[in-house]
Amino acid sequence: MKGKFCETPEEALDGLLVPGMTIMSGGFGLVGNPETLIDAIARDGVSRLTIISNNCGATGFGLWRLLANSQIERMISSYIGDNALFEQRVLDGALALELNPQGTLAERIRAGGAGIPAFYTRTGVGTVVAEGKPHEEIDGVTYVRERWLRADLAIIKACRADPEGNLVFRKTARNFNPDMATAARITVVEAEELVPAGALDPDHIHTPGIFVDRIVKATINERRVENRTTRAREAVA
């Protein structure tokens, strides 16, 4: 079963953490976050990080911990939400923030993995996010040109992984994870379940192993719920 499997998060990240590096971190809100690897990065203490992630965790959870640890210098995100610590760091000038439309962020990452240095989109035209970027009228519509995003390291949370690095995600925990897995020089995955070769249906692999360098079993799976919303069960008549 060895293949790309590592024994510990430290082994999975060995030699990869360098001050000033750029890290992509999968997840949307608190769903599909590589909690085990984030914890290891917090323990390592590597600083001056640029983090590319849709959000920045929540109090005590996920990337928020790296923020609390003053490890993050710059964030490229789409949504921060209510994050008092984040706000304070931005106001203090200790944290640079680049906000992207969520779809532009996803496509820039996909472009980074696909060898496409720039593409045109209508998203953001006429708004602050398009300021200073090249514009082009194509077939009578104005588009803005956006650049690819790439990283030194991507940290990814998967549901299942085989020794080849083939990954399967679960429900909306997929989100940015498969895109980011393609866009970094090195991709390290934590998976809830490590399965033997041949256990995954080759027609249903979300991330082919070529995009994955190292895998470790996820040992932190808090999977915190941000906004628990339920309905009452109807009384049986």
């Binding site: 496509e107 708004t127 909306t172 339920t230």
Partner: protein
């Protein structure tokens, strides 16, 4: 006062913009309530931009799955017709014009369809999220908001004062006082419907942009 629509009535009015077979994205707040007003028998499929098509209702307490949330991070359920996909695939769907209708909250909308709904200068911004992609990519955009702000200032304006989410993108605005069709191509805003008990004169007073009275 019973004049105009309450939140639920605004959602009900927004639901009247749905067509059978529509694929729809609902924003946070009043737009989320629209799901409760889909007419029986009408097939409407809800998209959630974090990577899901075919959103079901909120879960029962013992069904909650931390891996299954909507774009508002609320726990939800799947349906037999559901599918999950990546963020890039989700926004390819949105940007590519495959979603028929987006119903979104707004802070300001202009007569020619500009919308501002993500940032207030001087306040810490929460972020952009999928709003810019939705207003630029979805075929038809419906904005839902109160007609005036807390201090009484008009929110339906000639020109937005807040940072824009998109320019010339809103088709229909539904407020607590009425329904307007924006003039995205410079054809002028048009009043579509007054809410119960609301006069055109009152709308003129509370709207900071001219509109045509083409009420049906």
């Amino acid at each position: 006062m019973s004049r105009g629509w309450d939140r639920d009535a605004m959602a009900a009015r927004a639901a009247r913009e749905l067509r059978d077979g529509d694929y729809v994205n609902l924003g946070i707040g009043i737009p989320t309530l629209v799901a409760n007003h889909i007419p029986a028998g009408m097939r409407v499929t809800l998209q959630s931009e974090n990577g899901m098509l075919g959103m079901g209702p909120f879960p029962y307490d013992d069904e909650v799955d931390p891996d299954l949330v909507n774009a508002g991070k609320q726990t939800i359920t799947a349906l037999p017709s559901s599918s999950f996909f990546s963020s890039s695939a989700s926004f390819a769907m949105i940007r590519g014009g495959h979603i028929d209708l987006a119903i979104l909250g707004a802070m300001e909308v202009s007569a020619d369809g500009d919308i501002a709904n993500w940032s207030v200068p001087g306040k810490m911004m929460k972020g952009i999220g999928g709003a810019m992609d939705l207003v630029s990519g979805v075929r038809r955009v419906v904005a839902v908001m109160d007609h005036v702000g807390k201090s009484g200032q008009p929110k339906l304006v000639a020109r937005c004062s807040l940072p824009l989410t998109g320019r010339n993108v809103v088709d229909i605005v539904i407020t607590n006082l009425g329904v307007f069709a924006c003039g995205k191509r410079g054809e002028g805003m048009r009043l579509v419907e007054c809410a119960p008990g609301v006069s055109i004169a009152e709308l003129r007073e509370t709207t900071a942009a001219p509109f045509l009275e083409a009420v049906s």
